[in-house]
């Protein structure tokens, strides 16, 4: 059973058990434009909620991606190094950024479900 939640900074989290797969939303990739480079966190790094975890760069500008929850980075998406444009073509699928082990599930309380996120970006 996967639950998908969203942050106000336009990240999505697909949560299975105590692991969240994190990426940026389709709305975010549209705002960024053509993505040419993605910098991912190091494996094993313990991210604090709201700290800069990854960087996504378009032709024009660099944008930070923040850790939506506190936890250890378990896996990063190697496909993004070879093909950053995946973020534009499949932001909420193949272009996931990293998997994080959720340290404190209570942090999920402040996140939005799909309907709330849709209202947030409307």
């Amino acid at each position: 059973m996967t639950t998908t939640l969203y942050t106000s900074d336009h990240e999505w989290l697909a949560i299975e058990g105590d692991v969240a797969t994190v990426g940026i939303t389709d709305y975010a990739q549209q705002q960024l434009g053509d993505v040419v480079f993605v910098e991912l966190p190091k494996l094993g790094r313990v991210l604090k909620k709201a700290e800069a975890a990854a960087v996504v760069e378009s032709v024009k500008a660099a944008s930070d991606v923040y850790a939506p929850v506190t936890g250890e980075v378990l896996e990063t998406n190697a496909a993004l190094a070879a093909e950053p444009a995946l973020v534009n073509t499949d932001a909420q699928g193949a272009a996931w950024f990293f998997k994080i082990k959720i340290a404190d599930k209570s942090e999920l309380g402040g996140l939005m479900d799909e309907a709330a996120y849709k209202a947030h970006t409307a």
């Binding site: 434009g33 053509d34 040419v36 910098e39 960087v55 760069e57 032709v59």
Partner: protein
């Protein structure tokens, strides 16, 4: 400073067209301008390099310098008091790149100067145009009437198919060479056409009466080879072409020699030339020609894929604490599929092939001083 609110932004005569084409509008130099269209920066950039792009550059200033004597040479001599270029030698129907300099040898603005036979035609940067005009009025009013052509729009058509796109509407266009410039009819409209641009590609810039601008742009866009291009791709194209952006790569604190623009200062204005000196900051600029400048604008290529952007500090090695320079423009070059940048470094570290480092998000990324343009230009000489 307050952020400019949308209502106070000026609009070019093509504003409605940008909106109807789906342009994403952003504030730029006081104007509401399209940063990109639905195609996006990457496609717009690559389309310009392989086909043709149409750019609205109407925010730039267009100024006619009309000699009171009726002789264009008098306007040229007068303008030489403000720029280190040989303006007298610009033949009728030709154009040249120039800079307004200040008393310290810095650059107040860069501009194009064309000889239209009985007057000079200047194109200056949007952000500087009011100051440029005041500067011209303050220094040249005895010799020239300074005529601000605010009722004209400016459209650029750039890329390998620019010539064929324009030829249908301007029979003289194909015969023009790089930096030819003059009044021509385009689609029956009274235009000034120059074979030049800001992309490194062959192409044209067309000054058109504001009232006719939308008609001209729509006519050119009927050609499927021609796509509208926003400011985002304009910047990545000029960066790959190694061309300076005023306020970033050149400013009041950089001399033309530091900026690696020696090629733009003709021998006649240098020491030993027929009209050496006689422009603001001549002492410092000519000293830089004679003895060299301490720092220099250079091209930079990164080893990795991470773009190195404006403001990144440069270092001589991976560990030293003191920066040796700064990146003044940088980003991703879509045609190279790699990051490109330019910046200022001590002249001793400016030789091609020199290894340097840029600090990006706390990491030192290796860079190499590289020749510019990064992408070979295709001017029709």
């Amino acid at each position: 400073m307050l952020a400019p609110d949308q209502d106070s932004l000026k609009r070019t005569p093509l504003h409605d067209l940008h909106v109807s084409l789906g342009g994403k509008m952003v504030p730029f130099a006081g104007y509401d301008m399209p940063v990109q269209y639905p195609a996006g920066v990457l496609k717009e950039h690559l389309h310009t390099r392989t086909s043709a792009g149409l750019f609205d550059v109407s925010h730039m200033g267009q100024i006619a310098l009309r000699p009171k004597s009726g002789k264009v040479e008098d306007a040229a001599r007068a303008l030489e008091r403000l720029v280190p270029q040989d303006i007298v030698a610009i033949a009728p129907g030709r154009q040249r790149y120039a800079q307004f300099t200040n008393a310290d040898g810095g650059i107040l603005d860069d501009l194009m100067v064309a000889n239209f036979g009985d007057h000079l035609f200047l194109v200056v940067n949007a952000a500087c145009k009011a100051e440029d005009e005041a500067h011209l009025r303050a220094h040249l009013s005895d010799d020239c009437v300074i005529d601000s052509l605010a009722d004209r729009a400016l459209v650029a058509v750039q890329g390998p198919k620019a010539e064929s796109a324009l030829a249908k509407f301007c029979a003289e266009a194909p015969a023009m060479k790089f930096m030819d410039a003059g009044p021509h009819k385009v689609a029956g409209l009274d235009c000034f056409v120059s074979r030049s641009g800001y992309t490194g590609e062959d192409g044209f810039e067309i000054s058109v009466p504001a009232a006719d601008a939308e008609r001209l742009a729509k006519t050119l866009l009927e050609n499927p080879d021609v796509l509208p291009i926003g400011l985002g791709a304009r910047d990545s194209l000029r960066l790959e072409a190694g061309l300076c952006l005023y306020g970033h790569d050149i400013d009041t604190a950089t001399t033309p020699v530091e900026a690696a623009l020696e090629w733009s200062v003709q021998k006649s204005r240098r020491i030993g030339g027929a009209r050496a000196g006689g422009f603001p900051g001549a002492e410092k600029i000519l000293a830089h020609f004679d003895q060299g400048a301490g720092r220099r604008r250079v091209g930079l290529r990164a080893e990795g894929r991470a773009p190195v952007r404006e403001g990144a500090l440069l270092f001589a090695d991976a560990t030293s604490a003191a920066p040796i320079g700064t990146v003044t423009s940088g980003g991703f070059g879509p045609s190279l599929n790699a990051p490109v940048a330019m910046g200022y470094v001590p002249t001793a570290l400016g030789a091609l092939g020199t290894s340097l480092f840029a600090e990006v998000r706390g990491q030192r990324l290796p860079l190499t001083v590289a020749a510019m343009p990064f992408v070979k230009n295709t001017y029709k000489r």
